[in-house]
């Protein structure tokens, strides 16, 4: 860890110290483990904080940090029983306010949640946002998230996860074909406006990630989901590469790397002149790649293998060829 990132954690530790004091004040006797669980931190971090608080205070009239100018705890209880009993308070006794950015981060998160069907209680969300605004020491930063259209699929899948039942749907794969899938839903995730179901696919007999907007004829079944609890951990990244995946070398301007971060996170980048760089993508097949590359037209060029270049070229060619004829109104269906 660099020196800079080490010291940047000091404000977080300060926030913890300032929050811990009023909490301990409200709890006459409390175990270290209970405090750790409440704040979601390790017991070690709680003990460090208590050790620091217990020897801290104000300079006082003598400017010498005399005994009465310091916090105090029952040391025997702390050292023998891992229990915190605060016996003397100095200067602060209340929760600190939120900063403008802290309040803004939660408010924007609430705006995002409020666009989802299960958080339909707009009144409750509005009341929370008002409290955060009033509890901030300055006007919250102007971060805002627009309402997004929510789909019924979110509701169906969330209920299926909760009821532990399988779901069925037709799924368009990136080759363009449709397949009927039966899935034990494990988690429903979103990234910005895109929603994903992660679950055990009975067809593939493996954990798979599905885009909700590629599903049709989605239904929850009566069949219970299999028990995947203990043996199955979901990776943090949505898409995992496997040993069978194909490597594709692409070239793009360096600032464009952010746009493909989901696809090529761990591969080294080589500079090939100017702002242009090359990197390697791992893809299951070239049909997903052709869609990605044409979506990033003018930015990404596939270098090798030739088959990948060819797949991309044909996809773009077929798309472009439609326009060779002048635009006509479509025939009535």
């Amino acid at each position: 860890m660099t020196e800079a990132s080490k010291s940047s954690r000091a404000p977080d530790k300060l926030a913890f110290l300032l929050s811990l004091v009023p909490y301990l004040m409200d709890h006459e006797r409390i175990g270290v483990a209970a405090v750790a669980a409440h704040f979601g931190v390790s017991a070690t971090r709680v003990r460090e904080a208590v050790n620091l608080i217990a020897v801290s205070g104000v300079p006082g009239e003598t400017r010498q940090y005399q005994h009465g100018d310091l916090f105090d705890i029952q040391w025997d209880e702390f050292e023998d029983n891992d229990v915190i009993v605060l016996t003397h308070l100095v200067a602060i006794d209340d929760a600190p306010r939120f900063s403008a950015r802290e309040a803004a981060a939660l408010i924007a998160g609430l705006q995002y949640l409020s666009s989802l069907p299960e958080n339909a209680d707009q009144g409750a969300i509005a009341s929370l946002m008002a409290k955060l605004t009033r509890g901030a020491s300055a006007t919250p930063s102007q971060l805002a998230v627009a309402k997004s259209e929510s789909t019924d699929a979110i509701t169906v899948i969330r209920a299926a996860v909760g009821n532990n039942v399988q779901v069925e749907f037709d799924y368009v794969n990136s080759r363009g074909g449709q397949e009927h899938r039966r899935v034990d839903p494990l988690r429903i995730e979103s990234v910005d406006r895109d929603w994903y179901l992660r679950g055990w696919c009975h067809l593939r007999e493996a954990v798979r990630t599905f885009r909700l907007d590629r599903m049709s004829a989605l239904t929850a079944t009566d069949a219970p989901s299999g028990d995947h609890g203990a043996g199955l951990t979901l990776p943090d990244t949505l898409f995992e590469s496997t040993a069978e995946d194909l490597s594709v070398v692409i070239e793009l301007p360096e600032p464009g790397l952010a746009l493909i971060a989901d696809y090529a996170p761990e591969f080294p980048v080589t500079h090939v002149g100017g702002e242009r760089v090359r990197t390697t993508l791992r893809v299951a097949h070239f049909h997903g790649l052709k869609r990605l590359v044409t979506r990033l037209a003018g930015l990404v060029t596939v270098i090798e293998p030739a088959e990948a270049r060819d797949t991309v070229a044909r996809w773009a060619e077929e798309g472009a060829a439609q326009y060779d004829a002048p635009a006509l109104p479509p025939a009535e269906a």
Binding site: S19, P96, R158, D192, A258, T301
Partner: protein, 331 residues
């Protein structure tokens, strides 16, 4: 001594003082400074430390005030510092129920990375001091927001500090980036994309920028600050984007059963469809053109003509760049 110990001692000392402490008093008496203070000596590095610490404390939302001496205004030497307890304490009537806390935890978890994630966690730490235990979280449910554009962090920081910034912007439809000097007012997510709402200083008018089209670094301009117009800028920006979105309509034909038919079909807002023609609202023609080009032969753009042309040029560009006869690429 750990940094947080010095910061903690500074906050305690400045909350405890009614009248405020001068810089010399802070440096000579407060834990973490006094050990390094040289009476009558050169304390310039310690003074710089104090300046940085003040910034850190203020970033946490702690109201660290500077008071000018009434009999000696403008004197840097006799400035006094304090933290008024009334402004430090969370108002006592602000309370949260276990259900509300559960929703706030979910809202905090929306940010998975970056400084907003750290700030959300810090807000939860502060909420923890209230001692309320949250209701059980919803399992298997993880909504998240991302701001992958590198301009997001510097822009939102500059916005909070009221600093004018400059960046190179590749305006949709133009081929070369142009330098912009703007006063940032709001950063908003609309239709899945982050936008900056700002006053363009060179034309003295409000403009909206797409973060994904900012090229390279965002730099703050020394000494150029502005006063924020306050609350409501974010909502104003969203209202303007909504208006633009409503006014822009594209018509595309999709191949039945294809990826394009399934995905775009879910986005269409107009109920009146003829055959496989889909109507789509949009805010930025070039962004929609990128997306439609990705569908290749599954989509045929009918209107508007500029969108049709934009998709054609993307497809022919990709075709030509991947011509198998030219394996080194053409760019």
């Amino acid at each position: 001594m750990a940094v947080e110990e010095r910061l903690f001692s500074l906050v305690l000392a400045l909350v405890a003082t009614e009248t405020g402490l001068t810089k010399a008093e802070v440096l000579s008496t407060v834990q973490g400074y006094r050990q390094r203070y040289q009476n009558g000596g050169d304390n310039s590095s310690l003074e710089r430390q104090f300046e940085r610490d003040k910034d850190d404390v203020r970033e946490l939302g702690i109201p660290l005030e500077t008071i000018e001496p009434p009999d000696d205004p403008g004197s840097n030497h006799n400035l006094r510092y304090r933290i008024p307890k009334g402004l430090y304490d969370l108002p006592s009537d602000i309370t949260f129920t276990p259900d509300e806390l559960m929703v706030l935890k979910l809202a905090a978890a929306v940010w998975r990375e970056g400084s907003l994630s750290a700030e959300s966690r810090r807000a939860l730490t502060k909420l923890g001091s209230l001692g309320v235990e949250s209701s059980d979280p919803v399992l298997g449910y993880a909504p998240s927001l991302r701001a992958r554009e590198s301009s997001f962090e510097p822009l939102s920081k500059a916005m909070d500090r009221g600093q004018v910034v400059a960046f190179r912007y590749l305006k949709p439809g133009e081929t070369a980036p142009r330098r912009r000097r703007v006063a940032p007012h709001a950063v908003v997510l609309h239709d899945g994309r982050w936008h900056l709402f700002a006053t363009d200083q060179d034309v003295a008018a409000k403009r909206t920028f797409l973060l994904s089209r900012i090229v390279g670094q965002v730099v703050t301009l020394p000494g150029q600050t502005f006063k924020q117009d306050g609350d409501g800028m974010g909502q104003q920006a969203l209202a303007e984007l909504d208006e633009l979105w409503n006014a822009s309509l594209a018509e595309v034909d999709v191949v039945p059963g294809s990826d394009a038919a399934v995905r775009l079909g879910k986005r269409q807002t107009s109920v009146a469809t003829v055959g496989d023609r889909i109507s789509l609202h949009y805010t930025d023609l070039n962004i929609l053109a990128d997306e439609l080009a990705g569908f290749g032969p599954e989509v045929l753009v009918q209107s508007p003509p500029a969108l049709r042309q934009a998709v054609i040029s993307r497809l022919t560009g990709v075709r030509d760049a991947h011509d198998v006869q030219d394996p080194r690429g053409t760019s």
